[in-house]
Symmetry: D2
Subunit: 367 residues, 4 copies
């Protein structure tokens, strides 16, 4: 197998014209589209309907070509849209296509391998607690096992849309009175998803995990997770990117852990792992090797960065999520020379407090 | 003479504690404080009262020490506060002190020289038109002449707070009916101020200037201006930073023109002019040389950057001014390793469309 | 003919479940749906994609039932969605159905009559100038003539979505240099649409109209217009609500001109014209007669209301459009006892400066 | 004693010109100024510096006249400024003056009596728990006892600025690990303040109060509290408004409990208790009797109002606090005919869930 990836800028959330054209011209087949990851120009919050608009457009495009009703498309293709193209970010979508390919000519070389999976459906009271962590870990391992990896260390990005099953105001009050306040919010769902990845990949041993550490003990984290959470979603969607000796193609993925949002050292290191040269200013030829830039941002909850105060968390006009995406996107774009970057926020248990995860996918040549 | 500069982080807009302590400890004298340039954590817009709060605190601190009523302090010391510390910016103030100093030991070497001045008071109908340009140019030249420069090419930053005399709704309607719609808004005041600088320094010849080109012909610009505009202000305040062979001290200023907000090449070039080394990541030792980072940002009005669409201008929830400051501040902080950066926006006739001006002040050693 | 109207609250912009159920149950036919007017929970600005999401859902619902491709539905049914459900407003849609009906039993009595129409396509340079006014007036008259009215005074609401044909930055610059700056923005499109209505209905004589008065002379206005404007729309969509002796049904429409956003006297008067009693607090039985509340709001551009300063226009964090919709919606809801109100903003040439138009549709019984 | 009250519109947060003029003209004495309650045009959140600006201006005005250093003025005069003049609200301040007066001619009649007081300083761990409730109750009773009331039922408004002593990120983490998570936030401080009032006045019996019910059991509330909370404030400031047979003057206070933000019935009832007539539209003569309108607003946390969905809590661009203030202010202004209204938000344990408290102060004539 091999993965090909296409990074399309969009003119609006519902713009699927480049994907339509590629399918019409037979550049790849609808059946082979594995997932679409994209940034839309919403606020990234609860009232961000740009993601729904993008997914609706994709469902209506792909449904007929897959012989599926529009509302069934997401059972087969993962859509991972994140709102918020603050600053210089280009709204865009990356289409990942998984195709049959001859075995690599030089088998020692690893190339990008991808797989998707799902957890079982969760109940509201499981979210943000160990049941979510354990089931997430199981699903991640299941997907990774299908990719014929040499080692779990070859997993570089686990992109997830975490479950937040619906619950009512009355249910929430009841749980509160029972002393087990619901954690079925975005913060806890993201945190438990990330710890599930950390457990699956051996980044954190199971013995250190419990309900109490979730969104509390920030020394525990995954360096490859990128988790969002969606109110109303019953099961978590899992997408694993790794490098496998059994896969062909010209792509590789690499990752690093950002210490904070100005950590250009890690950005440089990850790019260099993929054979890119990093200079000031960036060389446009190097930037053309990139097909995907995926990162998690966080306004440091301690209110400072590198020892100096920041004001992202005390601004009641603009959410810190918008600021932190804007900051990290700007830094990534200036270092890498590419504005089609996917930064989502926040980053509970994704790297150290105030930091986040970073994964790059780039062309490194056929093996 | 010589300039010394002190860059103080603040805990809030009214925090003048470090300046108070410095004065109390006799590190410099209130009489020698030439100007205070700072960033406060407001929105940078019309309802940003953090600037007023900062200036009130400074007036009440300096007034008694200067033997002046608080409301008279600004006749003697220039306060240039800009709201908006989006992203990683540290709210801070830079205090510039002008003191007698022995003539430089090696007279060929130039060091930072600064002077302040004022235009005459403007009438509303002059704003954004040639009278503002011409009078601004006159005031800039007057200040520059006092600095014993070798050449006007040694002027690297003209910081201005531009006049916008008050006018009523009725006056505005009357002007509109007379076919000479008032331009006494921030956009035109900033634009005319910048062209005034360009004229004063020979960047644009007078023959190319007219009412018609102001905020119209974007090929005309200054590379050293940094102009804000303040409703209610009757005269423009002018602050000139240059390098002079007649001045001592350990500071120099350099500038460059940003082609766009991701222009790390120019950031590097300006830093290198001051003898700094620029690496990825930045060396903290180099960052410590900086005492001031001053830039103008602009969300490109054509709606794209480097050929890709951006969404800063079509977002009706968050002003493009906040985005562009956040972007450029993040890029400056990541390249220079310093979060105490002063970025103000917008940048009409400050560099090319979508670009801006950049000036750095750094310690280069005694001459 | 007769009009029936159904006011459905929605659970989100894409929620068309109540309309689907009504069609499935045969309460009315898709062929008879004349228009759908609704409020969605976006920001009402340029980046409000909730309207597109709502219309996409309607297109996919109605297309198959009308035998039309989704993208052709709006040639047949008018969708008028306005973003912004600030405060207590219930997101909702009003479905207007036009059906054959026996002639009214008592022919003197007038009942709600509705018709739709379109202007020709506009060029960018026509927008905000007389060509838009004249063609809009023509289209309004054409629709009104089809309703068998006794008099044009029986027209109480002209709901329009105004054209703003796309133009490029370069075209805009060219027009500017040619001394005919483009007015193809929302402000001017709305203003010219409203004056087109005023001309059609005799509220303003043609002799008083010219390019110069558009968005200048605020003494000229329509009392029945409700115009939005949509970038990218080439022709203006027109919807006329009037009372006609030739139509049956149980509905009537009435209108008034709001002097300002606190004008409860006019709200009361319009309700009383439809036979409703207005008390403090409102009687829920009276509120049940209402099927549609349509108004235009405006933060008074002079910066005051009833002689006191307001701060809606100097707030750079929140648009005045959101404030004024919130204010008028709250006042309407508290006086009428109904939170399903449709308030759109701004109101250039819709009532006097700082005021707006108001139309109510209510059940008055079969004639 | 008697209270006189003066309601001054302001041109900006620092505008104290009308108060200065009144003092200069001897209309009342600085020594008699008991408190100043005002609305400023900030966002009402953590980064609202308009309150600090207003209070700084008042300190510098009153300090010299009281023979106090500016920073000592608030030990003697209570300043209660609330940010947020959304919609039609006029930024304003109400100055309450307490002066010696002859005993009322007709002793049965009650007139407005006011007193101020303070709690002891709190530790962070006491906030939002019973120690705050009990000490607040003690302070309220102490103030009320000084007013020579016939009954505690004559207390109609307890305006408080609640303590939130500073704590560090590390302290908060430590408390969390100890199983007693800090509640030293605005929500819990306001809630405990309100329950303190409820306890003091017998609205809720002590037996029903415990740490567990605070911000949990919403059936417990005060109908006369109006509490804000201020990070950094160590003790709570208390201001009591009541009607006393021992006081003279021409003012009275009355209150009611708003069931929700559209509760015009209660607004009418409270106004009528003060002898005002409420009509649609309001009679300007009646409005002139008012000297203060004080209310607490709340976006119903259940997400609906009167059975219909609202979107105030799912909007990530604009805080529900701004919406709810805008709604209730608009309703109050339209019913009472007065835009100088003081609405603060949120309303934990101030009236039922989704409701709030309302107090009016009006001229009823000398006793």
């Amino acid at each position: 197998m091999r993965i090909r990836a296409f990074n399309y800028p969009t003119s609006g959330p519902a713009d699927v014209s480049q994907l339509r054209q590629a399918l019409d011209e037979g550049r790849y087949r609808a059946e082979d589209v594995l997932c679409v990851i994209g940034k839309t120009e919403g606020n990234g919050g609860r009232n961000d309907f740009t993601r729904e608009l993008a997914m609706t457009a994709l469902e209506h495009l792909l449904g007929p070509r897959l012989g599926l009703a529009p509302e069934r498309v997401q059972d087969r293709v993962i859509f991972s849209f994140s709102g918020g193209t603050e600053g210089v970010v280009t709204p865009h979508m990356v289409v990942f296509v998984r195709e049959p390919a001859p075995a690599p000519a030089r088998p020692g070389l690893k190339r990008l391998a991808m797989g998707i999976g799902y957890t079982r459906a969760f109940r509201p009271e499981e979210i943000g607690r160990m049941p979510q962590v354990l089931e997430t870990a199981r699903a991640v391992r299941e997907v990774a096992e299908g990719l014929q990896l040499e080692s779990l260390a070859d997993v570089h990005l686990v992109q997830m849309k975490g479950a937040i099953p619906a619950s009512t105001f009355a249910e929430a009050e009841a749980a509160r009175k029972a002393g087990r306040e619901l954690r079925s919010d975005m913060v806890h769902s993201r945190g438990a998803s990330a710890l599930g990845v950390a457990l699956a990949l051996g980044e954190v041993p199971e013995a250190r995990l419990s309900d109490d550490v979730i969104c509390r003990d920030w020394s525990l984290y995954s360096g490859v997770a990128s988790c969002s959470a969606k109110p109303g979603l019953e099961r978590t969607e899992v997408l694993v990117l790794a490098n496998s000796p059994a896969w062909g193609g010209e792509l590789q993925v690499a990752h690093g852990v950002l210490e904070d949002m100005l950590d250009t050292r890690t950005i440089r290191d990850v790019a260099e792992q993929l054979g890119m040269r990093v200079t000031v200013p960036p060389d446009p030829k190097e930037a053309q090797k990139l097909v995907g830039v995926f990162a998690k941002s966080e306004a440091d909850p301690r209110g400072s960065i590198r020892g100096q105060r920041h004001t992202m968390l005390t601004d009641d006009d603009i959410s810190d999520t918008r600021y932190s995406r804007c900051v990290l996107s700007s830094v990534l774009a200036s270092v890498l020379g590419e504005t089609r970057v996917y930064v989502s926020t926040r980053a509970e248990h994704h790297g150290p407090l105030g930091g986040g995860t970073l994964a790059l996918v780039a062309r490194v040549g056929e093996p």
